[in-house]
Symmetry: C2
Subunit: 186 residues, 2 copies
């Protein structure tokens, strides 16, 4: 597998020193095969996570009619459903082994586009029911909570619980105030 070959090489010689050619050679596949799966070397840093981000953006972009509750309530349910589907067997090694692999700089560089896409999808999802400024804030705050949940899951080590537990524990208090705001109870 490309991911396994990449992880090995990143551990052996570091992410910056590893080329796409070395990865495809180790995996025994062609350069074309690599680009069938990944758009760039940095995409290897986001394996599994990118799939879940895409799944969440897709789910937010095609809300099913007839769902119960407000968009804000549906938002939590959608996020936790995607977190529940996230593969538990593999922790994103580019994060958990950032020091050994030398991935920190490239993780930071490749994070904003992903976080912004997620924040904008969340903003658009709640926009029909929230004032524009609040919808934008919910997007930004929810991404902050999701990131904290994912980071805690990664940091928790081999005895970690399921991802959705951490995401739920971060997301719930982060969104409580916005639910109150919508209900006019504060």
């Amino acid at each position: 597998m490309l991911e396994d070959a990449a992880a090995e090489l990143f551990l052996e010689q570091g992410y910056p020193a590893t080329s796409i050619e070395q990865i495809t050679q180790r995996a025994g596949v062609s350069r074309n095969t690599f680009f069938n799966y990944f758009g760039a070397k940095a995409d290897l840093l986001w394996i599994d996570l990118d799939q879940s981000i895409t799944a969440l953006v897709t789910a937010l972009g095609s809300p099913t009619s007839g769902e119960e509750g407000t968009r804000l309530e549906q938002l939590s349910a959608l996020i936790l459903a995607v977190a529940a589907e996230h593969p538990a067997a593999r922790v994103p090694w580019a994060f958990s082994q950032a020091e050994l692999m030398g991935t920190r700089t490239d993780l930071e560089a490749s994070a904003p586009a992903r976080l912004l896409a997620l924040a904008e999808a969340i903003q658009a999802f709640v926009a029909p029911e929230e004032p524009e400024f609040i919808a934008r804030t919910i997007g930004s705050v929810a991404v902050g909570a999701i990131a904290a949940g994912v980071a805690a899951w990664i940091a928790a080590g081999v005895r970690r619980e399921r991802l959705e537990t951490y995401v739920a524990d971060a997301l719930h208090p982060a969104l409580t105030g916005f639910t109150d705001l919508a209900k006019g109870t504060r």
Copy 2:
């Protein structure tokens, strides 16, 4: 002023095509003078904002004893005090003119280090009174709210209100649930 010379050049020919030499020449100062004020060209994108981030990190790092309220309550007060001191006369042009200046890519690249530093300072500030996971989540969520407030302030145009208004409106609902959590009311 270096900032004015830089803003002119970025508008005329774009951020990527402008060199530090061109900026110092336009401003009539030496290269050494530039590096007395800025560590890199990208620091020009964060004028004023960097000062406020530094002021907030400093304030969070040296809490005055005898303050009333929980750390979480003090946190909002500290953030809003720094927002109130933020210069109102100049909106960060690298953000407001991002399309014209071609600054978006470099803004994204230079944002994570700043947001992480702020999130970590907030986490450390509330850490004495909050569980570790919650302290980390508060850092991440508060930065999301601050970013939404600053973005709304920048986007609001010439009739914008004061920065602290937007930051307060974003921060208050984002932290409500954590206050409830600490009080055990939810």
